[in-house]
């Protein structure tokens, strides 16, 4: 349960009560990027009549896509108005820091150069319109995952900017994220002490399920949990955390209740099959405990609170869960449901603030 003030826990923190690790800022329109694009790419967009690159992850009319009141009076998409974000979230929830994950469809285009130009423009727009204007905000660097060398360049370009705390990947990629193909991204992120955030989304051509394309948006959204599980297995099996021991990854908006069962299966298989992956030199669950974090919303909550507490205990670490609202998406009705279980105060404080502070160094 989110209490009105964490100072009531006796560990009063004067600057705020929580760090929100998943907030979405949206572009009001593609035109806002024009000041940040070269003539070539601006002309490319205008001459071809590119309306926008909004992805279809959150259908405009679907109830999940916008909580009540999240559509700005100005008419842009939910998450496109900083003042509304302040009013609906930063001020009213007493947020110390909020981390922006901008989900513009940069990763979906097939032209790597265009993707790189759009990523640069989105990041420069984030600096000008969000980070420079609101000190409580931090942001993730949008990268052209299509080309890991270009992605690394973009991280290099912005890695020292204090407003960026993370590089943003999407959970659906062309190849499993553990593959060497993506290692340039991890090398530069580790060097700049940036977290790798892996967020729900992406659609590079592979079906969301191992058995083809489902019919419904509902299936697609629920299946993201399977996408996250596969990526986690890949990152560990390929030895990414052995190669980059300082690297940490956050799984964002993919649920967390599946984690215990995945770790058990992975550990068991490792005992029988470890000879195939010699660089995985300890239990996969130990590597996951050390290097991986997960945001909490949406919480796939069970029919009773006790089961959720048991599941959190099964995770085997109190350091892994990070509070998030997933603003402006609509997963919970009441503020207290953002953390839908009564936790011991110390654990609650870790989830609301301390785990994120330790991870992001903010």
């Amino acid at each position: 349960m989110i209490r009105e003030s964490a100072s009531s826990t006796g560990q009063g923190h004067d600057k705020g009560v929580l760090i929100d690790c998943d907030v979405h800022n949206a572009l009001p329109s593609i035109e806002v990027l024009y000041p940040h694009l070269s003539d070539h790419w601006r002309d490319y967009i205008v001459e071809r009549g590119v309306g926008n690159l909004e992805p279809n992850y959150y259908p405009a009319g679907a109830p999940l896509s916008a909580r009540p009141g999240a559509v700005p009076p100005s008419g842009g998409p939910p998450g496109s108005d900083l003042d509304l974000l302040r009013g609906q979230l930063l001020d009213s929830w007493d947020v110390e820091y909020a981390i922006l994950n901008c989900l513009y469809g940069v990763q979906l285009v097939h032209n790597e150069d265009w993707a790189a130009a759009m990523a640069r423009a989105v990041n420069d727009w984030q600096v000008a319109e969000w980070l420079d204007k609101e000190p409580r905000l931090r942001a993730s660097i949008v990268v052209p995952t299509q080309n890991p060398e270009m992605a690394a360049e973009e991280i290099e370009r912005l890695g020292d900017h204090p407003g960026f705390v993370q590089a943003l990947l999407l959970v659906r990629t062309e190849m499993p994220l553990g593959k060497r193909h993506y290692w340039p991204i991890y090398e530069v992120a580790e060097r700049h002490n940036l977290v790798i955030g892996i967020h729900a989304g992406g659609s590079p051509g592979n079906p969301i399920t191992p058995v083809g394309w489902p019919s419904h948006y509902l299936e697609d959204y629920v299946s993201l949990a399977q996408a996250f599980q596969s990526q986690l297995v890949s990152l560990v099996s390929e030895g990414v955390f052995a190669k980059f021991p300082g690297l940490r990854a956050v799984l964002i908006e993919g649920g967390f209740t599946w984690l215990p069962s995945l770790m058990w299966r992975f550990d068991k298989n490792w005992k029988g099959l470890r000879g195939e992956v010699a660089w995985v030199d300890r239990l996969p669950s130990e590597i996951i405990h050390e290097h991986v974090r997960l945001t909490i919303q949406p919480v796939d909550e069970p029919p009773n609170q006790e089961y959720l507490l048991q599941t959190m205990e099964q995770i085997g670490s109190e350091e892994m869960l990070l509070f998030s609202t997933d603003y402006p998406h609509w997963h919970f009705d009441e503020r207290e449901d953002a953390l839908p279980v009564e936790l011991p105060p110390e654990l609650e404080r870790k989830i609301l603030v301390e785990n994120a502070r330790a991870l992001y160094g903010i």
């Binding site: 679907a62 109830p63 999940l64 959970v171 659906r172 990629t173 062309e174 190849m175 499993p176 553990g178 590079p204 592979n206 079906p207 969301i208 399920t209 191992p210 058995v211 083809g212 394309w213 489902p214 019919s215 419904h216 948006y217 509902l218 299936e219 959204y221 629920v222 299946s223 949990a225 996408a227 599980q229 596969s230 890949s234 099996s237 649920g255 209740t257 599946w258 069962s261 995945l262 058990w264 299966r265 992975f266 550990d267 068991k268 298989n269 029988g272 099959l273 195939e276 669950s285 949406p298 796939d300 909550e301 069970p302 089961y307 048991q310 599941t311 099964q314 085997g316 609509w330 997963h331």
Partner: protein, 376 residues
């Protein structure tokens, strides 16, 4: 060492009989199907082979943990046949020593559903089922079997189910989880119509390489990944079957998840319920929370046993399922990750639950005769 363990195992007969819901017999080579396979298809196999999505003529892209399709090293019969191809040795090593009341055969080779040529798949399915009747079911009264079908073609599959379903030893239809499309899609419905018509459960069994990558981000590098994330393929099928409304459209259909794990099922049920509440208007044909369909229409076999770091968490997971009627014990004989009935559970089960998992749930699902004896 391995031999000594095997000898010790063989001397120690399990006290209480049980129903083994997953045993593998295999067709050792297409030659044994000669009496059942038309010459036209025998010649086809000789000339063109059995082509699948992956590019290998006979191998597979992810070599398994051991030879013989990933078999126990002690499961190679003295006869020289491959593991799972010798009934006498199966009796000696498994059925007799483990005191098995009924054992359900899932014949995974040849993979009739994964062949690119569906006509060949249909011919091989017919031949394999006829071979199962003659070589296994008529020779061993403890055995029951699943009907193999070329499941990517629902018409062929339904015809095969209709052809052999009246044989009393066929108790199930078996599919692999790595289908071309999610199993809730309309292209598979004729299979469910036929299964429902004959009162047969649909079993979805671990295996297969499919045409789609096993992750939503393409092909992983290692067998440990392929094996670990096969659970996600099962999860995807559960999502599709439930959200496409299969259990509203086929109210008597029952589905068994075999060798795909079960500890993930509570979490998936919570997630299915949670997002259905917000987005239900997209699937108006669902009348109840998704988890209710799962508890009523789905079962899961236990091997490979879930092994939490803290064994007590396994009892929590079973409680989280919200039903004691869904789990059924299986050994997966003769494969490398075989579960021994005396040792598989890392924690002591309450007696009533143990009887259900080891016998009663399967007896009720498959409508087997007999009574479960009280645990010794």
């Amino acid at each position: 060492m391995v031999e000594r363990v095997a000898q010790r195992e063989a001397r120690k007969k399990t006290k209480t009989s049980f129903i083994d819901c997953d045993i593998h017999n295999i067709v050792p080579s297409v030659d044994v199907l000669e009496p059942y396979l038309p010459a036209r298809w025998r010649k086809h196999v000789e000339t063109f082979g059995m082509r699948q999505h992956h590019g290998f003529a006979s191998g597979i892209p992810y070599p398994k943990a051991s030879p013989g399709g990933g078999s126990r090293v002690d499961a190679w019969p003295p006869s020289g046949l491959p593991p799972g191809a010798d009934l006498d040795f199966m009796r000696e090593q498994h059925l007799d020593v483990q005191n098995i009341e009924y054992g359900i055969l899932n014949c995974l080779y040849p993979k009739v559903g994964e062949l690119l040529n569906e006509e060949l798949g249909a011919a091989l399915a017919r031949a394999t089922n006829d071979w199962q009747i003659v070589e296994w079911l008529e020779k061993e009264p403890r055995l029951r079997a699943s009907i193999v079908v070329p499941y990517e073609n629902a018409e062929f599959s339904a015809a095969e189910i209709d052809r052999v379903a009246d044989h009393p030893a066929f108790v199930q239809v078996v599919l692999l989880p790595r289908t071309k499309e999610p199993l809730g899609k309309r292209r598979y419905w004729k299979i469910y119509e036929a299964a429902e018509r004959h009162g047969l459960p649909i079993g979805i069994h671990f295996a297969g390489l499919g045409g789609n990558p096993i992750t939503s981000s393409g092909w992983p590098s290692f067998y440990i990944e392929d094996h670990t994330v096969m659970a996600q393929a099962f999860q995807s099928q559960v999502i599709s079957l439930v959200y496409e409304g299969i259990f509203e459209r086929f109210p008597d259909l029952r589905v068994v998840l075999m060798e795909g794990g079960f500890a993930w099922l509570p979490s998936l049920m919570w997630r299915l319920d949670k997002h259905w509440k917000r987005l239900r208007e997209e699937v108006p044909f669902l009348k109840r929370p998704p988890s209710e369909y799962i508890r009523k229409h789905m079962w899961a076999t236990t091997q490979p046993m879930e092994e939490p770091t803290n064994p007590k968490h396994l009892l929590q997971v079973i409680e989280h399922l919200g039903s004691d009627d869904m789990l059924m014990f299986s050994t997966d004989y003769p494969h490398w990750d075989y579960d021994n009935p005396d040792r598989a559970f890392p924690v002591r089960l309450p007696d009533a639950l143990k009887r259900k998992i080891f016998s009663e749930n399967a007896r009720a699902l498959y409508r087997f005769e007999g009574e479960t004896r009280v645990s010794g």
